[in-house]
Symmetry: C2
Subunit: 238 residues, 2 copies
DNA sequence: AATTCTCTGTGCGAAGGCGTACATAGGAGG
DNA sequence: CCTCCTATGTACGCCTTCGCACAGAGAATT
């Protein structure tokens, strides 16, 4: 669990040129992010960005009546705080740590300075932002058309891709908040998956036993996002 | 209806500096966009971008089984084809003209060249992209939590903001495709709105009579997006 | 060992949306 | 005028999800 940390464990930081890395790495600060930690609230000026290494962060939207829904999920393939370089400085959503771990923090001004050098960093960040857009779009469609069962599968797979091992630490209550459904709905869907032998869980520990089956039960949304994310990550820089 | 066209009618083009406008405007080509025209299909290399002046374009996602859902809507406040400067070149969604009108087309390489000069154009485009992200996120949440009635209100308001006058040319069938619901659901919701005297429609013509009431009936999603879009548009460029 | 708290399972009725089928109504064209 | 086509209105049963209530079961605390 307390594996060795290095900026290279974040795919964006790992993708920088030698020169950029030399400029940026000295300013990175490793931070430990516990479950539930809020990186920013809606409207907060985002002073820093976070590059996850082994944690997962949810971008969550909370409605006036308290209902919530996950917009997107970010792991070591991305960063938290895109509104800094996108120019808006804030966003209407909230960023919450969904799986504890670590991230490298970089102060906003330093990120912006590097971004506006228009080098690899800019290309990487913009392309990552596009993959985030894809994920959000797919979430919208999935919310509209697919069942809780399917969405649970999608969510498990997205989380699994961002963790080592096959175990998620997550109560059904929290998953329900992410998906924006009732806790009981998650209980029932998870019960069905367990009956099929796809997962096994108890009190906040979910072990995925048959990943292939999970993918088969899932709607197309997971595959679409995964494929597009991979494409954008490995896209040759022109 | 056939009002005078000018690049200035698009808010992004209007926001360029004198110097940038001098470089870009000569390369703009005015095109007429009929209802239903597809600007790009999922995966299409996007050779050009479109700056709408008096048309509305929907970003639509179509599932394998044919079901669809609107991700976002673009009028003269934005442009179609962000994946060009975001670096992905393609997206998994489709862009369809939802309300006929005009747009200025700009070839991809020219847009990229201007974008990578890191001037006003870049700031404007990135900030617009962030407002698009906000809209997509809100759509996801709205799909999850709000009724068809509320979503219809949201959709009408979003469209109204991007048109002159108070009349939409749109069959209930098309609206249903955008919202990703049944046509009958739209019929019923629209019937209720009509009974309240908020709208009046017949055979593809929807007249909004009481906009304030429409806003009152709508979920918070419209206001959130509107406010954020305005904020990002008028944000001083640092 | 007893108690308390958290997490999970289950069982209702209610509501919204879906799929289907069919009925009406306004326009266009012969 | 009549016909055809498209757009809209209505009805009905079904299914999913919701909201609520409560029961068990595991873990932590005392």
């Amino acid at each position: 669990m307390p594996s060795i940390q290095s900026p290279q464990r974040n795919q964006l930081l790992a993708g920088l040129s030698r020169q950029e890395a030399d400029r940026i790495y000295p300013h990175l600060k490793l931070v430990s992010l516990p479950l539930g930690k809020v990186l920013y609230e809606p409207g907060d000026p985002q002073g820093s960005v976070y590059f996850p290494t082994d944690c997962i962060v949810s971008l969550l939207y909370v409605l006036e009546d308290g209902a919530s829904a996950e917009i997107a999920v970010v792991g070591n393939e991305g960063l938290i705080g895109i509104s800094l370089f996108m120019g808006g400085e804030t966003t209407p959503s909230r960023a919450v740590v969904q799986s504890a771990g670590h991230a490298y923090r970089l102060l906003g001004p330093l990120l912006k300075e590097e971004f506006y050098r228009s080098g690899d960093m800019q290309l990487l960040l913009l392309r990552y932002t596009q993959s985030l857009i894809t994920q959000m779009a797919q979430t919208a469609v999935c919310n509209r058309h697919h069942s809780v069962d399917q969405q649970l599968c999608r969510w498990l797979l997205l989380s699994l891709d961002r963790l080592e091992g096959n175990v998620l630490s997550m109560t059904q209550e929290l998953i329900a908040n992410m998906l924006g459904v009732r806790r009981e709905g998650v209980t029932e869907a998870a019960g069905r998956l367990q009956k099929l032998g796809v997962i096994r869980y108890s009190r906040g520990r979910i072990a995925v036993l048959k990943r292939e089956k999970l993918e088969a039960l899932c709607c197309e949304c997971y595959a679409v996002v995964k494929k597009e994310t991979d494409r954008l990550r490995t896209f040759s820089s022109l």
